[in-house]
């Protein structure tokens, strides 16, 4: 019940703060214009552009999957011994083939 009251109080405070800030946001058109050092834009700033680092994101996911497997593996490693080591070696081997392929395709070059 206490937790519910605290959450309700915080929600109320946040709503009040948002309401207070909203009045300050009522800027005139010249005050709200985008800053271009005195210049003017032709179009709205909303635009779609080429997000280049998605290959980097794929490499990140490869490493993350590796870490997800390593946590449970570390728990059973002492009990399983050499078998677990061999399994992890195979897993890392397969992953590193993917990385080598990516390297050949040039994903580590920033472009």
């Amino acid at each position: 019940m206490d937790a519910l009251l605290i959450i309700a109080a915080w929600t109320g405070l946040a709503a009040l703060a948002a309401w207070g800030m909203q009045r300050q946001a009522g800027a005139t058109a010249p005050l709200a214009a985008p800053f271009l050092g005195g210049g003017t834009p032709d179009t709205h700033a909303w635009q779609r552009y080429h997000f280049r680092p998605y290959t980097m994101a794929l490499v990140f996911i490869a490493f993350e999957m590796e870490m997800m497997f390593m946590y449970p593996w570390a728990v059973v490693f002492v009990r399983e011994g050499a078998k677990a080591l061999a399994e992890m070696g195979m897993f890392l081997g397969i992953l590193s083939v993917g990385l080598l392929y990516g390297w050949r395709e040039g994903i580590f070059r920033w472009q």
Binding site: A29, P30, A33, T43, H44, Y49
Partner: protein
Amino acid sequence: MSWLRTLAAGAAAPIYPSIGAGMLAEVEQLFASAPGLRRAASPRDAALLLVAGDIPAEARPALDRLHDQLPHPRRTLAWKAGEPSTQISARLNEAWRDLAHGAPSEPDRLPDEPPNPWRGIGPHGQGGKGMMGGTPRGRPMAMTGADIRDGLELDRYTARVGPFAPMLPPGLTLELTLQGDVIVEAHVLSLPFPQPEEADLPALCAARMLRLLGLEGAADRMTRGHAPRAAWIRGAVPAGLGAWPGAGDARDRLDAWLSGRQEGGAPRDPARALPGLEWHEATLLLASFAPGTLRRALAEAQDLQEIPA
């Protein structure tokens, strides 16, 4: 609330300088050495607009737009050539104290109208019909064009930057078409304002590049005439950027300035080198030429364009 006002008045005065002809070096010296002044990176961060030197008539509308972008309370101060920097520094500090203690703000110079009428127009109030036909907030949506690197059709954003952009030489106005942060097209609309010889001093030129690299402290030390105290600065400039026959690349020119030498070679048509560069590279490239050299090179390129082939 008076203790809040006292605290605010004690902070460094946030100032956006709009630099006119002949005052570049003096403004840089002012911010590097005068106490209690802070050079704001954008007018949104500033309370005082410092108009240094003479602003030509064609840059006046841009100055009005800049003035209106400062949030309230705001004040404009003019710094004419010949006024000593100690005096302007005292005036700036006084104006900041006044503003913090509730002095009246300056009203907008431009009318409170959106660039195009849009309110209540169209089926969803977006200012037009269809997905790309609207003008939300009074501006049309960007249209697509081929990316210069791989031909992917994505939005092109065209805008004029300058003449008071902090990352460009004062007076330079560029009409840029961008895709993301890559420059696709660049045209020079107005040349940098003429500056005296002392703006071309190696220490000041190096300080400008350091400021673009985010090394504010090192840049201020450089401007005051000390060593920058930052390790391996040259590595922060991409190798091969802005390479010109006889002038080396941007990294070489920074090296020369850091060791106190004037750079020698002048570029031919620097604006033609901008397409294909990312925005930060383009600003670094332009800062890697002394203001006098850059102005001459841009003026020559403009003269060549005006003569029909």
